[in-house]
Symmetry: C2
Subunit: 597 residues, 2 copies
């Protein structure tokens, strides 16, 4: 080793020791004729000190002093010296009680001046930091993120191994089955005109492993989706992919609630209680969203509820007092939330909230507010249409008291759910209810099995084509009421972020064939793409199900961040490019020719 110790591990107990350290020059300072150097490595920072006349009675600066003065930022050096107690201690640093009196410095490699500062808060823009990712990765925040990610995978494996899960690697060069997102494909050189595909997930392989009897499988595995990128998506991402046999839905939920608790306990020192569970229907009714942030309540209150499909608008309730206000009269639903203690919101604040819900990506037509003032009076934006006694009834419904603000939207069900859900999150932000150090998990279950797609005029699987309908709903499979089919599917949501999702799978060939038919596959196409799985079901396939967690997002949530990119060592940018290495790029004509392209 070129060193005896790392920069982070020394402390007052090492006083008097002779040590050799290696690291990067964080900064140098010349104070009162002495040179101080902060030396950094992965484990910490330590101060080196050089006295111009050390061992040098004629008081001309020594050679090592001259060398120390010449060191630039990010030079890599090796230092020999003695650990001594500092007179001027730094309590912010684990090594702050000591410093190294250096007597030898070797420059292992110089550095040109970095294009941005290597500090916790840097002056580099995102594009520049992506290009020089190797310098950005030296910064403490990114280092902590990668260390967290390592710890999450170590603890995940430890826990799953301890309960008899076995990690099995599945192939990356598989077959293209572009149901759902687009596949990345890989041309075969040996088999002209044929292609492999990179897996969007190991779904069919993990089901095959259940058929093979490996009743508790997991894998931390890269997956690929050729999507048009959004800010928080990456063309390659990592999944904690799991599957179990001889289980029912509750067994999966209990097992992976156990994993999640283990991770929070062992990595963050947080004891999460038992996770609440909520049906998809209730989540939509209460929060307008299948991944609600349950760090705070602020549930939806319906003044006018949508009627079940095909039944026309619901009659006016007592609380709306009959027709009169057109925006409510003509809407499928009227629904609101109660923001505690916000009755004193100014005109400007309310206008801003109105602008917020009217933004195109949210799309509400307007916002109705009702202020329940501290003095008991009520003031609203719809005073012309509703008298105080009706507004008081609203307050009762909303559990609103003096000082509270009611915010109400009206419109079509789906769009109003979405808009009010966004408004609820915004109010949560404004009221400081979304605390990064609080973690609120929730299981959401009983998702719809199918979604109708207007564009392509066909049903799509909401989860994927292998998800089993609920037994109670099997009879609907042969009726036109396919939208009523519920799936044995579930998501784990923490703080409004979907961290994982899964389902109980179909394990019967006929049911799987029926599902492909509903999804618009011809029998031949279903067999061509998934014949191996359906054939496998004929050889004694056990009941099984599973779940997959997005590791990138899991780590970001652990770290209290919304950006997954900061938890990936070498992410791609929004155009799916790696700008550090410049990929994708052109390949040589010889390569193209060999591949027959």
């Amino acid at each position: 080793m070129l060193r005896t110790h790392t920069c982070g591990e020394l402390n007052i107990a090492n006083s008097g020791n002779e040590v050799t350290l290696c690291g990067w020059v964080q900064r140098t300072r010349n104070l009162g004729g002495m040179v101080f150097i902060d030396l950094r490595d992965r484990y910490g920072i330590i101060q080196l000190v050089l006295n111009p006349s050390e061992n040098n009675p004629d008081e001309k600066p020594s050679a090592i002093f001259e060398k120390a003065q010449s060191l630039g930022r990010e030079f890599v050096i090796q230092v020999k010296g003695i650990v001594v107690e500092r007179s001027n201690k730094n309590a912010n640093l684990s090594t702050g009680e000591i410093e190294i009196q250096a007597f030898e410095i070797n420059i292992l490699n110089p550095s040109v001046t970095p294009p941005f500062t290597i500090e916790d808060v840097t002056d580099g823009g995102e594009e520049l930091r992506m290009q020089y990712r190797y310098l950005d990765l030296r910064r403490n925040p990114l280092k902590k993120n990668l260390e967290l990610r390592h710890r999450v995978t170590i603890e995940t494996r430890k826990y799953l191994d301890s309960i008899s899960f076995i990690e099995i690697e599945t192939p990356f060069l598989i077959k293209s089955t572009p149901e759902g997102a687009r596949d990345f494909v890989v041309p075969s050189r040996v088999h002209p005109k044929q292609f492999y595909a990179l897996p969007q997930s190991p779904q069919t392989f993990k089901q095959i492993l259940m058929v093979s009897g490996y009743d508790r499988y997991f894998q931390i595995v890269r997956c690929f989706r050729d999507e048009d990128l959004r800010a928080d998506r990456q063309p390659e991402f990592t999944q904690i992919d799991c599957e179990m046999a001889f289980i029912e839905q509750d067994d999966i939920l209990n097992t992976f609630e156990g994993l999640t608790k283990h991770l929070f306990k062992n990595i963050k020192g947080i004891d999460l209680g038992d996770f609440p569970r909520m049906s998809y229907g209730d989540a939509m009714k209460n929060y307008g969203c299948d991944k609600p942030d349950t760090r705070f309540e602020m549930k939806f209150i319906e003044l006018k509820s949508p009627r079940p499909e095909g039944k026309g608008n619901i009659p006016f309730s007592e609380t709306l007092g009959g027709p009169g206000f057109k925006a409510f009269d003509e809407s499928e639903m009227v629904v609101g939330i109660c923001a505690k203690g916000c009755a004193n919101y100014s005109r400007k604040q309310l206008d801003e909230l109105t602008e917020f819900v009217k933004r195109p990506q949210i799309g509400a037509k307007g916002l109705v507010y009702v202020k329940y003032h501290e003095d008991g009076t009520i003031k609203s934006s719809v005073d012309k249409f509703f008298n105080e006694s009706i507004l008081k009834k609203w307050a009762d419904l909303f559990y609103a008291g003096p000082g509270d603000l009611m915010l109400i939207l009206a419109g079509g069900k789906n769009q109003t759910h979405k808009a009010l859900s966004e408004l609820r999150l915004e109010m949560g932000n404004q009221l400081g209810l979304r605390k990064p150090e609080v973690f609120s998990p929730l299981w959401v279950y009983d998702f719809p099995l199918l979604e109708w797609n207007e564009m392509s005029q066909r049903w799509f699987a909401m989860h994927h084509p292998f998800t089993s309908p609920k037994k109670e709903d099997f009879h609907l499979l042969d009726t036109p009421n396919l939208s009523g089919l519920r799936a044995n599917a579930y998501d784990l949501v923490i703080n409004g972020v979907e961290l994982g999702g899964g389902s109980i799978r179909i394990h019967n060939k006929e049911l799987q064939q029926k599902m492909f038919k509903i999804l618009g596959f011809s029998e031949a196409e279903a067999m061509r793409q998934f014949g191996f799985l359906m054939n496998a079901f004929e050889y004694g396939a056990p009941p099984h199900g599973g779940i997959a967690f997005g590791l990138d997002r899991l780590c970001a949530t652990f770290g209290g961040s919304e950006s997954i990119r900061d938890y990936i060592a070498f992410p791609k940018n929004n155009a799916a490019r790696d700008i550090m290495i410049d990929a994708p790029s052109e390949i040589s004509p010889e390569q193209l020719k060999e591949l027959g392209l």
Copy 2:
């Protein structure tokens, strides 16, 4: 859970318990009016017993008895019953002291008849087993292999984590840099005419991570090579990939010797002593091979040594007694081994050995033998050319005594090394010296840096272009004597199998540029492909080096097998096809169009 216990975990202590089990029907037998069923799951096999008249006083077979008789091989069933002691115990089974008196059987899924038997030794051919891999994976030997593989990765991570290594995931969609093997490429849809490549290894990324200060990195990671396949190669394979900074070669060797010892100790219960280390030169001289099987000695003895390049043939040694035997006279080298106790080999056996070395893939022209009989007489195939006193001198050189057989080859150096190395392994086999339960590790170091390729008339890196020459040999870089350059490169060999290899890397831009020039890169091409790495070297790159282990081969070696395919859940066949899922295959015209192909 659909079960209370697994089939493998019950024993005599559970007698009297009511249990619910799930599993596959291994076999059913009808003996003396009773039905016996062997029920199998991942954890073991247990016997179920059904009495026709149980709870059935009128002695007509009960419904459950009828159902039990109807069960076919590989049906998946759920069984409820009582654990009882067996009268007829089976000591070969962990559950052999008990059986389950079943009172309820539910068929979870029937099975058609499997195309081969699910037994330790099966009647299925390889092609059939690959097609029905999900059935093959049910067999015990494959299950044990995958469990071993899981254990190897768990223990590898545990050990490396305990000594501060951090696992960091590197990207799969990278840039094509086809030095060495061919890349698999991935067309980009968003960037027409551009391609990603799948990594042959994370080499440049792990070096970048060293530049970033993550001084102990590892990753268990899939790698890809589009090679023309040989029997033991796969287009995708898994590496334990490692890199360290601020180290020298010995530190890498010590660290990963530690890992290897940990794996053998914790997985196989074997204490490996300290690993011998041997230079490449000595390995070639002693064994004619850079990955010798050192479970047995049988070192090469040279009767006539090749002279250093360009110096012509070496003069005859005293032991050859001057010219006379043309095959020796005209050969660059004459070299042999001593097979202890084989002087009694028959004419037929010796003819077979001669045929063995003359096979085209070995390519020797003939084989000289010298038998040192028990009675002290010597008989050889070259009696005409060498008298007994000379043959006795050979015996002295070979440390041969009465009863031993000397086997001698002559020819060009490289080809004779290769042929005698194969013959040595064959003699090791014949003498039972290559015991599967013995593990003999060896570090081989000081590999040549470069290899001259006659075909393309240029130098190739023996390891890869990032390997550092030895400091002592730096001066040779500017001379024509490039073949004399030694690399700071090393391999870990166990039982003649190369399990891992690595090197100390170049960490200096100028040296890296010089290396690319030697390898025939133009400056522009080197910058286009590897500019990001060379630029990174300018920002304070620390001295670093690493190693990578082939996980598939490591597991096979652990398992005492030569076939890596049995240690991969879903391998490809020799034509790089996955015949279970039928990949690669054609993709739709729409996909091709979107990709601009």
